[in-house]
Protein backbone atom coordinates (compact mmCIF):
# COMPACT_ATOMS: atom_id res chain seq x y z
CA UNK A 1 0.00 0.00 0.00
CA UNK A 2 2.62 2.51 1.10
CA UNK A 3 5.06 1.36 -1.55
CA UNK A 4 2.45 1.81 -4.29
CA UNK A 5 1.74 5.33 -2.99
CA UNK A 6 5.47 6.06 -3.14
CA UNK A 7 5.53 4.66 -6.67
CA UNK A 8 2.68 6.93 -7.77
CA UNK A 9 4.32 10.00 -6.23
CA UNK A 10 7.60 9.01 -7.85
CA UNK A 11 5.96 8.65 -11.27
CA UNK A 12 4.24 12.02 -10.92
CA UNK A 13 7.47 13.81 -10.03
CA UNK A 14 9.49 12.17 -12.80
CA UNK A 15 6.80 12.82 -15.44
CA UNK A 16 6.55 16.47 -14.34
CA UNK A 17 10.36 16.69 -14.57
CA UNK A 18 10.35 15.23 -18.07
CA UNK A 19 7.75 17.84 -19.06
CA UNK A 20 10.12 20.63 -17.99
CA UNK A 21 12.97 19.10 -20.00
CA UNK A 22 10.67 19.00 -23.02
CA UNK A 23 9.69 22.65 -22.48
CA UNK A 24 13.35 23.63 -22.17
CA UNK A 25 14.17 22.00 -25.50
CA UNK A 26 11.11 23.54 -27.16
CA UNK A 27 12.29 26.94 -25.95
CA UNK A 28 15.82 26.24 -27.18
CA UNK A 29 14.44 25.59 -30.66
CA UNK A 30 11.66 28.21 -30.78
CA UNK A 31 13.04 31.24 -28.95
CA UNK A 32 14.45 34.00 -31.15
CA UNK A 33 17.91 34.78 -29.71
CA UNK A 34 20.69 33.41 -27.53
CA UNK A 35 19.50 35.29 -24.42
CA UNK A 36 15.93 34.03 -24.49
CA UNK A 37 17.22 30.53 -25.24
CA UNK A 38 19.42 30.76 -22.17
CA UNK A 39 16.38 31.64 -20.05
CA UNK A 40 14.59 28.59 -21.33
CA UNK A 41 17.43 26.14 -20.99
CA UNK A 42 18.80 27.22 -17.61
CA UNK A 43 15.54 27.55 -15.74
CA UNK A 44 13.36 24.84 -17.29
CA UNK A 45 16.03 22.13 -17.26
CA UNK A 46 17.12 22.91 -13.70
CA UNK A 47 13.54 22.65 -12.51
CA UNK A 48 13.09 19.44 -14.50
CA UNK A 49 16.20 17.90 -12.96
CA UNK A 50 15.04 18.92 -9.47
CA UNK A 51 11.71 17.14 -9.97
CA UNK A 52 13.38 14.00 -11.38
CA UNK A 53 15.74 13.98 -8.37
CA UNK A 54 12.81 14.23 -5.93
CA UNK A 55 11.02 11.39 -7.75
CA UNK A 56 14.10 9.17 -7.57
CA UNK A 57 15.07 10.19 -4.02
CA UNK A 58 11.78 9.04 -2.48
CA UNK A 59 12.27 5.78 -4.35
CA UNK A 60 15.86 5.15 -3.26
CA UNK A 61 15.12 4.11 0.33
CA UNK A 62 18.45 5.41 1.61
CA UNK A 63 19.09 8.87 3.02
CA UNK A 64 22.70 8.93 1.82
CA UNK A 65 21.75 7.94 -1.73
CA UNK A 66 19.02 10.60 -1.75
CA UNK A 67 21.40 13.28 -0.46
CA UNK A 68 23.94 12.35 -3.10
CA UNK A 69 21.38 12.87 -5.87
CA UNK A 70 20.42 16.21 -4.34
CA UNK A 71 24.13 17.08 -4.36
CA UNK A 72 24.25 16.31 -8.10
CA UNK A 73 21.32 18.70 -8.55
CA UNK A 74 23.09 21.44 -6.55
CA UNK A 75 26.22 21.02 -8.71
CA UNK A 76 24.15 21.43 -11.85
CA UNK A 77 22.35 24.47 -10.37
CA UNK A 78 25.59 26.22 -9.48
CA UNK A 79 27.35 25.37 -12.74
CA UNK A 80 24.21 26.15 -14.78
CA UNK A 81 23.81 29.61 -13.25
CA UNK A 82 27.52 30.40 -13.69
CA UNK A 83 27.50 29.12 -17.27
CA UNK A 84 24.40 31.15 -18.17
CA UNK A 85 26.03 34.26 -16.75
CA UNK A 86 29.28 33.64 -18.66
CA UNK A 87 27.59 32.86 -21.98
CA UNK A 88 25.28 35.88 -21.83
CA UNK A 89 28.13 38.23 -20.82
CA UNK A 90 30.35 36.95 -23.62
CA UNK A 91 27.53 37.19 -26.15
CA UNK A 92 26.72 40.75 -25.09
CA UNK A 93 30.36 41.84 -25.26
CA UNK A 94 30.74 40.05 -28.59
CA UNK A 95 28.01 42.28 -29.99
CA UNK A 96 25.21 39.75 -30.37
CA UNK A 97 22.11 41.91 -30.38
CA UNK A 98 19.16 41.41 -28.07
CA UNK A 99 16.01 40.39 -29.92
CA UNK A 100 13.11 42.75 -29.38
CA UNK A 101 9.44 42.43 -30.07
CA UNK A 102 8.40 44.53 -33.07
Amino acid sequence: MISSLVNIASILFVVAGAFFFLAGTVGLLRFPDVYTRLHSLTKADNTGLGLVVVGLAIQSGSVLAALKMILAWLFVLVSGATAAHLISTTALKGGIRVWRKE
Binding site: L29, V76, I96, R97
Partner: protein
Protein backbone atom coordinates in the same frame (compact mmCIF):
# COMPACT_ATOMS: atom_id res chain seq x y z
CA UNK B 1 8.82 0.79 -12.13
CA UNK B 2 12.24 0.19 -13.64
CA UNK B 3 10.73 0.00 -17.11
CA UNK B 4 9.12 3.38 -16.48
CA UNK B 5 12.47 4.96 -15.51
CA UNK B 6 14.11 3.48 -18.61
CA UNK B 7 11.36 4.88 -20.85
CA UNK B 8 11.76 8.37 -19.35
CA UNK B 9 15.55 8.13 -19.84
CA UNK B 10 14.89 7.27 -23.50
CA UNK B 11 12.54 10.24 -23.79
CA UNK B 12 15.22 12.57 -22.42
CA UNK B 13 17.71 11.15 -24.91
CA UNK B 14 15.31 12.11 -27.74
CA UNK B 15 15.22 15.57 -26.14
CA UNK B 16 19.00 15.87 -26.42
CA UNK B 17 18.84 14.73 -30.03
CA UNK B 18 16.27 17.45 -30.77
CA UNK B 19 18.66 19.97 -29.19
CA UNK B 20 21.22 19.06 -31.85
CA UNK B 21 19.07 20.98 -34.31
CA UNK B 22 20.15 24.14 -32.45
CA UNK B 23 23.82 23.14 -32.84
CA UNK B 24 23.25 22.71 -36.57
CA UNK B 25 21.40 26.01 -37.03
CA UNK B 26 23.52 28.19 -34.73
CA UNK B 27 23.80 30.95 -35.78
CA UNK B 28 26.40 32.24 -33.30
CA UNK B 29 28.99 30.15 -31.42
CA UNK B 30 27.17 31.09 -28.21
CA UNK B 31 23.99 29.45 -29.53
CA UNK B 32 25.91 26.28 -30.23
CA UNK B 33 27.44 26.36 -26.78
CA UNK B 34 23.97 26.17 -25.26
CA UNK B 35 23.84 22.53 -26.24
CA UNK B 36 26.70 21.80 -23.83
CA UNK B 37 24.39 23.07 -21.12
CA UNK B 38 21.58 20.91 -22.46
CA UNK B 39 23.80 17.82 -22.57
CA UNK B 40 25.05 18.49 -19.04
CA UNK B 41 21.70 18.92 -17.31
CA UNK B 42 19.78 16.31 -19.30
CA UNK B 43 22.72 13.89 -19.14
CA UNK B 44 22.70 14.07 -15.34
CA UNK B 45 18.98 13.28 -15.30
CA UNK B 46 19.44 10.33 -17.69
CA UNK B 47 22.30 8.87 -15.64
CA UNK B 48 20.34 9.19 -12.39
CA UNK B 49 17.31 7.46 -13.95
CA UNK B 50 19.46 4.65 -15.37
CA UNK B 51 21.28 4.26 -12.06
CA UNK B 52 17.91 3.44 -10.47
CA UNK B 53 16.53 1.24 -13.24
CA UNK B 54 19.75 -0.73 -13.76
CA UNK B 55 20.53 -0.82 -10.00
CA UNK B 56 23.99 0.60 -10.70
CA UNK B 57 24.82 3.09 -7.94
CA UNK B 58 28.10 4.02 -9.64
CA UNK B 59 26.16 5.90 -12.31
CA UNK B 60 25.30 8.52 -9.66
CA UNK B 61 29.04 9.28 -9.44
CA UNK B 62 29.17 9.56 -13.22
CA UNK B 63 26.26 12.02 -13.00
CA UNK B 64 28.13 14.15 -10.44
CA UNK B 65 31.18 14.34 -12.70
CA UNK B 66 29.11 15.15 -15.78
CA UNK B 67 27.37 17.97 -13.92
CA UNK B 68 30.72 19.54 -13.08
CA UNK B 69 32.36 18.99 -16.47
CA UNK B 70 29.63 20.80 -18.40
CA UNK B 71 30.62 23.96 -16.53
CA UNK B 72 34.29 23.48 -17.41
CA UNK B 73 33.39 23.20 -21.09
CA UNK B 74 31.53 26.51 -20.92
CA UNK B 75 34.43 28.25 -19.16
CA UNK B 76 36.84 26.97 -21.81
CA UNK B 77 34.47 28.25 -24.48
CA UNK B 78 34.09 31.80 -23.19
CA UNK B 79 37.81 32.25 -22.67
CA UNK B 80 39.00 30.73 -25.96
CA UNK B 81 36.47 31.32 -28.72
CA UNK B 82 35.97 34.82 -30.17
CA UNK B 83 32.28 35.67 -30.18
CA UNK B 84 31.94 38.29 -32.85
CA UNK B 85 32.94 36.25 -35.87
CA UNK B 86 29.36 35.60 -36.86
CA UNK B 87 26.09 37.22 -35.94
CA UNK B 88 22.45 36.68 -36.84
Amino acid sequence: MNTFFTIVAGFLLVNIAAGLVRVYRGPSPADRMLSAQLFGTTGVAILLLLSQSLSTPALVDAALVLGLLAAVAVVAFVTRIPQNERDE
